[in-house]
Every structure is written in structure tokens, then in C-alpha cells.
């Protein structure tokens, strides 16, 4: 996946309201590391169904950051986790790192 996070959805939503953009990024900065950690904890404890729910929640953040291809990847990963397969863990971790470093910089 070569795509990069972007703020187009947030800009579109805010209509130029910078205060809203700042508030939203503040909440994303707080929630994204928490939700990422919850996913890691669920993977570590082997609870794939809960890990799928964590991926489900993270999908919203993925879409907010304009990552369309990654969103489809996350959909597949969520389905696989619900079926008991965890073969995309590494790739999903890379995606989280990409998003975490983007929101940190923004």
C-alpha cells in the first residue's frame, strides 16, 4: 500500500473551520494510540474476535485519514479475524504506525 494519510475529508467536513479541525485532530491523537493498543492487547491475548472489533473501530480513523485502499485491507483483515485467521497482523501494524506518525506530525 503506497497511499499516504491526508486531511481531505477533515477539510471537506470543516469547511474551513480551523477550530473544529484542531478539536478533531486532538481527539484523533488521543483515541488512535488507545485503540491501537487495544488491538495489540487483543492480538497478544489471542482474542481474535475482540481484535476484529478493535479493527472495526480503527476503520473509522483509517477512513477519516483518507486511506481508501487501507480501509478495504482493514475490512478484509477484520473478516479474517472473525473467522479465526490472523495473517495480516504485520501489515496492519505498519498501517497503524503510518497513521500514528502522521497524526503526531499534524
Amino acid at each position: 500500500m503506497d497511499e499516504q494519510p491526508n486531511l481531505s475529508y477533515i477539510h471537506q467536513l470543516s469547511g474551513g473551520d480551523k477550530a473544529f479541525e484542531a478539536r478533531l485532530m486532538e481527539v484523533v491523537k488521543r483515541e488512535l494510540p488507545e485503540e491501537s493498543q487495544t488491538w495489540r492487547d487483543n492480538i497478544s491475548s489471542g482474542n481474535l474476535d475482540d481484535a476484529a472489533s478493535s479493527v472495526h473501530k480503527l476503520k473509522h480513523k483509517i477512513s477519516i485519514l483518507g486511506l481508501e485502499e487501507s480501509y478495504r485491507f482493514a475490512e478484509t483483515y477484520e473478516d479474517e479475524l472473525r473467522e479465526g485467521f490472523n495473517i495480516r497482523q504485520e501489515e496492519f501494524e505498519k498501517l497503524l504506525q503510518l497513521m500514528l506518525s502522521f497524526v503526531k506530525r499534524t
Partner: protein, 235 residues
């Protein structure tokens, strides 16, 4: 329209607030990170419209709707397209928004809620028409087959089909629990789970969160348990 937001994700709540602010027809009343807090609020207050997340820990959006006697209009907000079919089972659900929600799509959903509110003042005419009938006719392989309602002990939803279990035979029909529920006497039949309606007169025993009926053990969802307990003639 005064509206509520129920979503366990703060980011989602903030985005919906922004969408509300940009729409002249809706006004933000309260937001809740879980369904329980919203139920408490609705016990003493009212709302015209609820933006409701489906996936929430402990209590899903559908569980929440089932706890309300007269639910206001609901617009579902979700990252999952797969619940769209289930959403049609609930009359109060006017639209289904897949995240990330755009302003244009949001405005369209609000418009649907407005139209629905305008038509909801129509009197309900046909509510109990068929409920006093003793028989139910189901369409199987182009034949209308008569089922004696009193012989039904369980109805189970399986995707787009329901299985009607009677003491003599089981019937699988293309229908929904919502539709058949409207045809059954409400004082006897009760939906105890998203996928099951039971004949309460045929219960053998109840243990924790399940009911034994004939040879089937059926789960009771937390939201339906109070109504089930109300129906029992407890010593």
C-alpha cells in the same frame, strides 16, 4: 428536530456534531458514549431523532432500539455495510449512514427523517387485524400452507429466512421476524433475542440467560429479559 448522538467513539461524536451544526433542520440535544446513559436520559426526556452507532461494547445499537417502547426516528451510523438488511426490520430506522459521513449524505438522511416525522401522525389502522386468527398461512414452493398458530413454539431468523418450528413440523419461509411478529398474538409470543421469537406458553424452564423450549435452548438478550420476566407467573 432535537437529536441525540450515541457512539462510543469520541471522534465519531464530534464529527456528527459538526454535521448537525451545518444542517438547519437539526439541533443537538445530548451526546452519549454508551446506550445505557441514553436510556436513562430517554426515561425522563424525549428526542425527535437519534444518530445511533451499531457497534458498541456490551449493548449494540439494535439492543438499544429494542429497549425503547416508542423509539423516535433513528439514523444508524456505522463502519459496516452488512447490517443494512437487519436495519429494515425496524420501522423507526429511517436511514443508514456508513462512516466516514459526508455532509451531503448526512443532509439527505435528515431529510428522510423529516419526511418520516411528517407522515408518522397517520393513525395506525390495521394493527391487530390478523392477530386473533388461529391460523397462519405461509408461502412455500408456491403453495399456501396453513399452520395452527398455537402449535408454533419457536421462530428462528436465519438471514433472509425464518424457520417456524411447530410440534409436528418445521417450515422455512422467506420472511423476517418483524413481519411474522405482527401476525402473532402479542400476549403469547415474545421476541427474546434478535434472532428468536418464542411461544411463552411452551417454555419448559429458564436458566440464567437462556430458555428451554421443546428441545431447543434459546438465548435471551439482556434487553428482552425484563419483558420475559414480566410475562411469567412467578411464585
Amino acid at each position: 428536530m432535537k437529536c441525540l448522538i450515541i457512539d462510543d467513539e469520541a471522534t465519531a461524536r464530534l464529527i456528527i456534531q459538526q454535521l448537525i451544526e451545518n444542517n438547519k433542520h437539526v439541533e443537538m440535544e445530548q451526546e452519549f458514549p454508551n446506550a445505557m446513559q441514553a436510556i436513562k436520559f430517554l426515561n425522563q426526556n424525549s428526542a425527535d431523532l437519534i444518530f445511533l452507532d451499531i457497534h458498541m461494547p456490551d449493548f449494540t445499537g439494535f439492543d438499544f432500539i429494542q429497549t425503547l417502547k416508542n423509539p423516535p426516528n433513528v439514523i444508524l451510523t456505522t463502519s459496516d455495510k452488512s447490517f443494512a438488511i437487519e436495519a429494515f426490520e425496524y420501522d423507526c430506522i429511517v436511514d443508514y449512514l456508513v462512516k466516514p459521513i459526508t455532509q451531503e449524505r448526512f443532509d439527505k438522511a435528515v431529510q428522510k427523517a423529516l419526511s418520516s416525522k411528517a407522515s408518522s401522525s397517520k393513525p395506525e389502522v390495521e394493527s391487530d387485524l390478523n392477530k386473533t386468527d388461529n391460523d397462519l398461512y405461509v408461502n412455500i414452493d408456491r403453495r399456501l400452507i396453513k399452520i395452527d398458530i398455537s402449535s408454533i413454539y419457536l421462530i428462528e431468523a436465519k438471514g433472509d429466512y425464518i424457520t417456524i418450528k411447530t410440534f409436528g413440523k418445521n417450515y422455512t419461509v422467506h420472511s423476517t421476524l418483524k413481519k411474522i411478529e405482527e401476525k402473532l398474538p402479542q400476549d403469547i409470543f415474545l421476541k427474546i433475542h434478535r434472532s428468536f421469537i418464542i411461544n411463552t406458553k411452551k417454555i419448559i424452564d429458564i436458566e440464567d440467560n437462556s430458555v428451554l423450549i421443546e428441545k431447543d435452548v434459546i438465548p435471551v438478550s439482556r434487553s428482552n429479559r425484563p419483558e420475559l420476566m414480566k410475562r411469567l407467573n412467578l411464585l
